[in-house]
Amino acid sequence: MEKYKIKKEKKALRDGFGDAISELTDDPNVVVLTADLGDSVKASEFGDNSRYIECGISEQNMISVASGIALTGKKVFATSFACFIPYRVLDQVRMSVCSQNANVKLIGSHSGLSYSDDGVGIQALEDIAIMRSLPNMKVYVPSSATEAYIMTMKAANEYGPIYIRTGREKEVDFEIDFKNYEINKAKVIREGNDVVIYTCGAMLSECIEAAEILSVENSIECSILNVSSIKPIDTETIIEYANKCKKGIVVEEHQKFGGLFGAISEVLIVNEPIKLDVIAIQDKFGQSGRSVLELRKYYGLSKENIIEKVINICK
């Protein structure tokens, strides 16, 4: 049973963020910071120059500045590529932002393999693990441009440090009902009784394609959960579907250590241990490729890989 509706046009997650930050211009307490990447991450869609601060290629200072502004009672968006937030600025994120529980939203764009052609230096495959380990930090991984838009809008009115992972590549976009969207809930995208697929980010569309093929060709019915809030994590729904399907696959564009697979494993091992496998980056760095699909295929993140894993776990 499908619960998703695909939009006609593909759209990049960063554009969803851009739509939101443009709208947030109307909130007089929002301040946006960037480190010479405003156009790339779409922060420059923000419409008030007096509250848009170009920090130069000084990400460490940008994060500390962000926390200072936030501590004067403002809502601050600090934006860059995910390969700089959190890596370059982890100390600042931990101390200036998290330890002071400052109201700073950190936007990491071009995450995963989504800046395919730029290669290892500009790809980010460990950010979820890093951010998830920090006290006070929430971690949101939208699956589509529309979800990135909604998560940004909701995050603006949620106090405290939040990391939102966006991307560069145009991806499948989904219709989402803003009104009934609960940010901290796992979203049930598809119902099936045989295997539950836990996923986050742009891998959602690969999972959907795989599930449809499995249904038609192998008579295997998958449930799909879009776990876009990795922290806090929706323990209840994750357990419910583990209980229902008894077998699960985690699919993510991230190292297999500490990301969504880590988060799901932590929930299930103390509540509802099931047979669980993972599709993720196998402890490897990225590299250049002409398209993200080419790279996903090389690193074993394609729908064919998902299909194979699901069939295997059902054996």
């Binding site: 301040v31 007096s50 509250r51 601060i53 920090c55 130069g56 000084s58 460490q60 200072n61 940008m62 994060i63 500390s64 500045v65 962000a66 926390s67 200072g68 502004i69 936030a70 501590l71 004067t72 009672g73 403002k74 100390d91 600042q92 931990r94 101390m95 200036s96 330890s99 002071q100 529980n101 109201n103 106090y159 405290g160």
Partner: protein, 283 residues
């Protein structure tokens, strides 16, 4: 000035006694740097900064409690290991109860080993990792500019701390945004944890460095109230650029056996040494 020179000297002497007493009680802490900045801290809190207690309120939607006016001047101790100096001045100011002097670094105490944000006692930021307070102070300052507050921002950083690249990022930022409501005070005491600064990482021509980054640079004797007073006046009068006061201070100032010796950077006095030091400070 609101206080006479003698009054200021008495206050800074009390601060020095507080610093030594609380660190010996705690059996750990950073003594020398804290002693060196006692005069600057005295001047900041008793002459320069506008900060007053108001009725208790919640700072924002996380319900962070504050007892200070929202448009106050803000102080950031970027070299957060010198926090005994901050607690000591806040005690003299009456923002921290005198009895807390026994509780430095104790479990559950407000007097954490490094600064920890607590607006019920006047600690504005959390610190411990060097090179971040300067950025937070810059954030306070630009927010004050954007949202048209009168609030001025003061931040003490160390000369050892100036090894951190992020200090120079903040320096570029302050210059770019012409943060004339921001005053850095560089505590130049020539020591850092394991040796003299010149042996760890030379910071030659520190005034020229800051000048070339576009800052208004004022070099003073950081243990002389006339110098300190003039410097803060000049900083306030300087428009269109941020100011940095290069304060040459004597680490361990006030107690002869502590002065100018890096071994006291991160070491505290034992009971006998404390007695001896307090006698010297009472002279």
């Amino acid at each position: 000035m609101n206080h006479s020179l003698e009054e200021l000297k008495t206050i800074s002497n009390n601060i020095r006694k507080n610093i030594l007493t609380m660190t010996t009680n705690a059996k750990s802490g950073h003594v020398a740097g804290a002693m060196g900045i006692a005069d600057i801290m005295t001047y900041l809190y008793f002459e320069e900064m506008q900060i007053e207690k108001v009725s208790e309120y919640f700072d924002n939607d996380i319900q962070r409690k504050s007892v200070f006016n929202t448009n106050r001047d803000r102080f950031v101790l970027s070299a957060a290991h010198m926090v005994p100096a901050l607690y000591s001045v806040l005690i003299e100011k009456g923002f921290i109860d005198k009895t807390e002097i026994d509780n430095l670094r104790k479990f559950g105490s407000k007097l954490q080993g490094h600064t920890a944000i607590d607006l019920t006692i006047g600690v504005e930021t959390t610190g411990g990792s060097l090179g971040q307070g300067v950025g937070i102070a810059s954030g306070f300052a630009i927010s004050s500019k954007i949202f048209k507050s009168e609030s001025r921002i003061y931040c003490i950083l160390g000369d050892g701390e100036s090894n951190e690249g992020s200090v120079w990022e903040a320096s570029m930022f302050g210059n770019k945004y012409r943060l004339d409501n921001l005053v850095f005070i560089l505590d130049k005491n020539n020591i850092q944890l394991s040796n003299f600064t010149e042996n760890i990482m030379p910071m030659d021509s520190i005034c020229d460095k800051w000048k070339s980054f576009g800052w208004n640079v004022i070099e003073i004797d950081g243990n002389n109230f006339d110098d300190i007073s003039k410097a803060f006046y000049l900083a306030r009068e300087t428009k269109g650029k941020p100011s940095i006061i290069i304060a040459n201070t004597i680490p361990g100032k006030g107690v002869s056996f502590l002065e100018n010796n890096y071994i006291w950077h991160g070491k505290v006095l034992n009971e006998d040494e404390l007695k001896e030091a307090l006698i010297e400070l009472d002279k």
